[in-house]
Amino acid sequence: MARAVSTRIKIGYTVAAWTVALIIFFPILYTVITSLKTEQAAISGFDLWPSFSLESYRDVQSQYNYFKPFMNSVILSLGSTALALAVAIPAAWAMAFSPTKHTKDILMWMLSTKMMPAVAVLVPIYLIFLRTGLMDTRIGLTVMLMLINLPIVVWMLYTYFREIPGEILEAARMDGATLKDEIIHVLTPMAIPGIASTVLLNIILAWNEAFWTIQLTTTNAAPLSAFIASFSSPQGLFWAKLSAASTLAIAPILIMGWFSQKQLVRGLTFGAVK
């Protein structure tokens, strides 16, 4: 039975929620405001009122063609996510429905690769990319991003798959479904909310990745992270331009996140209530 909540408490919670949300969102908001200022206004101190100048956006575009890194970001994040799913769905299926006594260890081992600082393997990976001709190629970076996000994808999918009753799969098998049918026609549709949120999270992670994408690219495969980095300067104040570049870089992913938030929340809380 639902507990009656007084209007006052409701308002209190609403105000608190909005305050927290605003605090979290404020840096992004201020970036957008700064991007709409002139350079001089941007450095003259804290001011929430933009001067509504689109000068920075024009300068950013004239200095660096936005669409090339944007397309690279799209290709890299979608490509690495698709590749990761192709590997992680069978892996998670195997671990969720045919666990062995070492399944937990394997999962932990996979996750442990995320515990190492990326820079520790920079030189070996750099050399591999160099020798194999993968340096500054989209295909090389797609594989790289897929590999670094794979442990998280496997973990998430494993957690979702575990929530699906094994009996349903057994029933499908009784009806003569092959392994392929079972994964594609039974398991996947049931796990769609989980897979969807994994996809969204993976796209966001790949989009924001800023170590390998800067280290392993020069011009051809450089995505938006490299685009932002190019506007940071040791000598010279380009805060408005830097903010404009950041706004352009985060806008697509922010909009995507906005539209898919229902799916994302549903996926993240999937199986939370038994």
Binding site: Q40, T218, N220, A229, S233, P234, Q235, G236, L237
Partner: protein, 438 residues
């Protein structure tokens, strides 16, 4: 033949067809650079070189530290990702000595004699030139003429640090967010240590003695740190430990600092009414001195170098020669205004009447650069060159570690004595580990 080769080939082919006066075959070169104002101008004007030669340029623009990291990885692995790279006067002689950079002597028709000798010397090792200077800077004192006038003060031609402290005291009005002095506080060998190194030099100190023994526990370092902490705590802006060049520039341009001791390359910016609120109220003087008249102003040259791993050295050399030539300086002057020309590299720039008219700070900058001698910057004899840095590969890490200790002292997290004791210990350990101290 890979897809990449086909792509490179076809781009070069397109360049050949489009290029009006292509000599041999047109090439595509990749240049790694930083996003400093002068480099942006270079990018904007580079199409003129591309048109003239039929070659094309790929620009990789990165933040200074990321650039250094990437370029070092690429050079160490002989990656050959870049045909030209922007490096400083710290890297040029070290990397040249390692055999990582192509020698830049002997380019046909290049006017080497016009380069300011101190700049040329700073980019050479064993008499060989390893990079050509794009713009060079020293450090000097910028001050607000209006505030000085109001307070009845006068900036001497050669100020002393004692005078600077007195001026700072008079001109500080914290209630109105006006601070007597702004200095770098952000930790880093190229940030706070650039300024602090010069302060140590002019107090009679040095990083090492002739046997590479660290001197950070000696009196000059203590004097320098006491002075720095005193003026910064009493007359400096709040939160100074996060202030580097950019932050101080913002403070000065918005009228919050009465004095700012920093790079001469800031002159063009604080003097530009489009960027600065105080453009018509700025005066310039040489860097202050303390007990010793040496090493009080730093030297730095952003330069263009060619790694030995490139396969397009000839085209790369052609571009570097163009971008560092007097012809380029004139081009910037005509297209972007004379105040925007890359300063500090060529004598002819300072003889140019147009530049002298547009940049009243030119003479002060020139004398600062000419007098900054990396080979003779300390009162005592030392085994290294460099004014605000020590030209050994280990300095980058050591300088930043010491910078962090100085910054911690400024933040009040440790005492001046502890900061220097910790720095001395770090320096001793590092120098022993690297084999300098036997």
């Amino acid at each position: 033949m890979t897809f990449k080769h086909v792509l490179l080939g076809s781009t070069a082919y397109a360049g050949l067809i489009l290029g009006s006066a292509a000599g041999a075959s047109a090439e595509e070169i990749t240049i790694a650079t930083v996003n400093n104002g002068d480099m942006i101008v270079m990018q904007e004007l580079a199409p003129q070189w591309e048109e003239k030669t039929g070659n094309t340029i790929n620009w990789v623009v990165l933040e200074e530290n990321v650039l250094r990291e990437r370029v070092t990885t690429d050079i160490a692995t002989q990656g050959g990702q870049y045909d030209i790279m922007t490096i400083g006067s710290y890297e040029a002689p070290i990397w040249g000595k390692q055999g990582w950079l192509t020698e830049m002597d002997g380019i046909d028709g290049y006017d080497y004699d016009d380069l300011i000798p101190a700049v040329k010397a700073g980019l050479s090792s064993d008499g060989k030139l390893f990079a050509l200077p794009f713009y060079a800077e020293s450090s000097f004192t910028m001050y607000r003429t209006d505030l000085f006038e109001e307070a009845g003060l006068e900036m001497p031609e050669q100020p002393t640090y004692e005078q600077i402290a007195e001026f700072a005291k008079t001109l500080t009005d914290k209630d109105n967010e006006q601070y007597g002095i702004c200095l770098r506080g952000k930790p880093g060998w190229g940030e706070n240590m650039a300024f602090f190194g010069t302060l140590v030099n002019t107090n009679g100190g040095a990083w090492f003695d002739q046997n590479w023994n660290p001197q950070l526990d000696q009196q000059p370092w203590a004097d320098a740190l006491d002075y720095y902490l005193d003026v910064m705590n009493n007359y400096g802006p709040p939160g100074a430990t996060s202030n580097g060049y950019n932050e101080n520039q913002a403070l000065f341009q918005t009228g919050k600092c009465a004095m700012w001791i920093d790079a001469t390359s800031a002159a063009g910016r604080v003097f530009d009414p489009a960027q600065s609120d105080v453009a018509d109220k700025v005066g310039f003087a040489v860097a202050p001195i303390a007990s010793v008249d040496k090493g009080n102003a730093w030297f730095w040259a952003w330069s263009l170098a060619i790694p030995t791993s490139t396969k397009k050295a000839d085209v790369a050399k052609d571009f570097v020669a163009w971008a560092t030539s007097q012809e380029y300086v004139n081009l910037v002057g005509e297209e972007k205004g004379w105040v925007a020309v890359p300063p500090g590299t060529r004598t002819s720039t300072y003889e140019n009447q147009n530049y002298q008219d547009a940049a009243p700070f030119a003479a002060t900058v020139l004398s600062a650069i000419q007098n900054a001698d990396p080979a003779d910057a300390t009162a005592m004899a030392v085994p290294y060159t460099g004014i605000q840095y020590v030209s050994i590969p280990e300095f980058q890490g050591l300088g930043t570690a010491v910078g962090q200790n100085i910054s911690a002292a400024l933040a009040g997290q440790s005492s001046a004595e502890d900061a220097l004791a910790a720095s001395q210990a770090t320096a001793k350990r590092e120098m022993t580990r690297s084999g300098y101290i036997k």
